[in-house]
Symmetry: C2
Subunit: 225 residues, 2 copies
């Protein structure tokens, strides 16, 4: 085992990567309040003052973190849509539409946790990133629902589609968190629930756009058993 000799710039880049990695871990485990230059530098194995060789301040590191996280999320989404399109039948496509985002979240759970925290925190530097991410997820879901057969023709239906997508997105996040916390061990079951939720909503949209699915319609009330 001979240690590879690194050039100066390679060594610097390695330290930078270590800082970013350390920051992500601390952010996930202790939250934004626990993220200090002291802890990040120590975790990366350098002196606190050397932090400033790599970043102007903690804000800048957080900005980089948000950019890289955003890139990873976008890649996840592209991959998810590609795979969902590949599913053979309608049934499979519908189900994959909900299972794949759940899997994507579980592959990078820290990104969802950080996003959920930052989203409503007025003191968070990542607030904008979190809001943009949430909006992107919502639009992603809206596009997926549209791909399942529904097209919004007027103002009202577009708003409804957006609301449904936002609701489904929130439910997806909630079930993914529940899975990560160990309450819902089976991801497929979670995908089933999301499919069922969306089915009811799609029925509402079909009805309002002039078509009625068999047994559907907004005036219907489920019979008491």
């Amino acid at each position: 085992m001979t240690s590879t000799p690194l050039t100066r710039s390679e060594a610097k880049d390695l330290t930078r990567r270590k800082l970013i990695r350390a920051a992500l871990t601390i952010l996930d485990e202790e939250g934004e309040a626990g993220l200090t230059t002291v802890k990040v530098a120590k975790a990366a194995g350098i002196a606190q003052s050397s932090f400033y060789v790599h970043f102007k301040d903690m804000q800048e590191l957080l900005r980089v973190l948000a950019e890289e996280g955003g890139e990873r999320l976008r890649a996840s989404m592209r991959e998810a849509r590609r795979r969902a399109r590949e599913a053979p039948g309608d049934l499979e496509r519908h189900r994959e539409t909900f299972r794949i985002p759940l899997e994507a979240i579980c592959r990078h759970p820290e990104l969802l946790r950080i996003q959920l925290r930052a989203r409503h925190d007025p003191s968070s530097s990542l607030r904008d990133f979190a809001r943009e991410t949430a909006a992107a997820y919502r639009d992603h879901h809206a596009a997926d629902l549209a791909a399942l057969g529904y097209t919004a023709d007027d103002e009202r239906d577009r708003r409804r589609l957006e609301m449904i997508a936002e609701g489904i997105n929130a439910a997806t996040n909630a079930l993914a968190m529940g899975h990560l916390e160990g309450r819902y061990p089976d991801l497929d079951e979670a995908a089933d629930i999301l499919t069922a939720l969306s089915r009811g909503a799609l029925r509402l949209l079909r009805h309002t756009s002039g078509r009625t699915a068999p047994g559907g319609g907004s005036g219907e009330v489920p019979p008491e058993p």
Copy 2:
């Protein structure tokens, strides 16, 4: 205009109330990171050091805040269920089940905002409070869904009901936040969306418990237009 003369204990209690009120406002506007004894005391009109006459430390104030917030939320829930039960027909009850929680949230939006923030933040003193509140809301929704006609007979169905309730709850919070942010002006429309989402899920439950609603069933796929 004669100023009422207060006894010493009345004056102390008034100051205490001012501190709690100030803390709630600062917590909502600036987040937990912005909540300091300096700011709270100043907003309540006393010296920073006098903060400790009323509370051992900031933790204790947050504990009191969580207790009072919890009480307010429980009262809201009781009221909501009472009103939902009073609705005349099945259709109205189903709809009220979703509209009333939305209204309850909008009456105390700061409590939801604070809860959503604290829930996933490992550094938050209010984390336990937020998690308990979320669990209470979920159980509340599960009970509401059960009251709409579904009873979970076995292990699997109980877990499914819990997942549906958690999903619906997350969607309710998301749409309420969207309403508070001005994106969804009409609360009734949000209630419609939630009703439609739940209808699909109830159908899934009916199916798995051996009954199939007209046109429903988990094997069905909506036709492409």
